[in-house]
């Protein structure tokens, strides 16, 4: 569960390393949700530190229940940077992607991911 102020790892090659969630809170955000983030730390790439962009949450430490009743959780909080249309900024997705993204029409992220759970 990601709230405003949370710091997430970035699991793509957009150049950002960590980002901070600046989505106005109202509820906690989970896997598959698109949130607004501020890039905290970036290496040379398509984004720079201080930039504001959208990101889709791909992994959460907090366990979440899936459609089939199973419960799953990950080691870290991670996201993939996307543009306003939901297209990934980077050209690779290095971490995991879950089938929850399919329901949110984030097919491009899913197809780039090597590990789909």
């Amino acid at each position: 569960m990601i709230g405003s102020g949370a710091v997430l790892h970035v699991s793509d090659n957009s150049g950002a390393r960590t980002v901070q969630c600046i989505q106005p809170s109202g509820r906690a955000w989970g896997v598959g949700d698109v949130i607004t983030v501020a890039v905290q730390k970036a290496i040379k790439g398509k984004v720079t530190a201080g930039q504001v962009c959208k990101a889709v949450i791909t992994e959460t430490k907090k366990e979440f229940q899936r459609q089939d009743g199973s419960v799953i959780k990950f080691d870290k909080n991670a996201c993939v940077l996307v543009n306003n249309k939901g297209q990934p900024i980077g050209s690779r997705v290095l971490g995991f992607a879950t089938h929850e993204l399919r329901a949110r029409q984030l097919m491009k992220v899913l197809s780039l991911a090597s590990r789909v759970l």
Partner: protein, 161 residues
């Protein structure tokens, strides 16, 4: 739906039960209940925890190696669908299950027979060592001279003759 085995206790994870944890190195850990999940978080080794299948097999408490366990095994090569094969497999599953249960019960009986003999031996030793708890020491001493006297009387009688 595939019924996976619990990483910690090796029991079956039924749909809607337990939790799945995906580590950063993409290892998937499935747990059948929070008990197993908690033990995993405590970094306990399933081989050293007495109630797990891993421990029981390692300690020789359950049948560990048997051909019947080979039936239920994860195979990486997908099998092409064949109606005849499915029919045969279902029949074989029932038969293998019967054989497995019979072998396991036989193993348990053999183990219990051994344990019974050991227990009886241990009881015997305990009775000899702790007889004073059953019978007062004075009463035991009272019994012993009588036997000696009897022997002595018999000896004197023999000598008189």
């Amino acid at each position: 739906m595939r019924l996976e085995k619990c990483w910690f206790c090796s029991s079956t994870c039924y749909p809607g039960h337990g939790i799945t944890f995906v580590r950063n190195d993409a290892t998937v850990f499935r747990f059948c209940r929070s008990k197993c999940h908690k033990n995993f978080k405590m970094k306990r080794n399933p081989r050293k925890v007495k109630w797990t299948k891993a421990y029981r097999k390692l300690a020789g408490k359950e049948l560990a190696e048997d051909a019947t366990f080979e039936m239920e095994r994860r195979r990486n090569r997908p099998e092409k669908y064949d109606r005849e094969l499915v029919h045969k497999t279902v029949q074989a599953m029932q038969k293998v299950e019967e054989v497995r249960v019979a072998r396991q019960s036989r193993f348990w009986e053999a183990r219990m027979n051994k344990a019974k003999a050991q227990q009886q031996q241990a009881d015997k030793v305990q009775l000899e060592n702790e007889i004073h708890l059953v019978k007062a020491p004075a009463a035991i001493q009272k019994d012993q001279p009588k036997q000696k006297l009897k022997v002595a009387v018999e000896q004197t009688e023999a000598m008189q003759e």
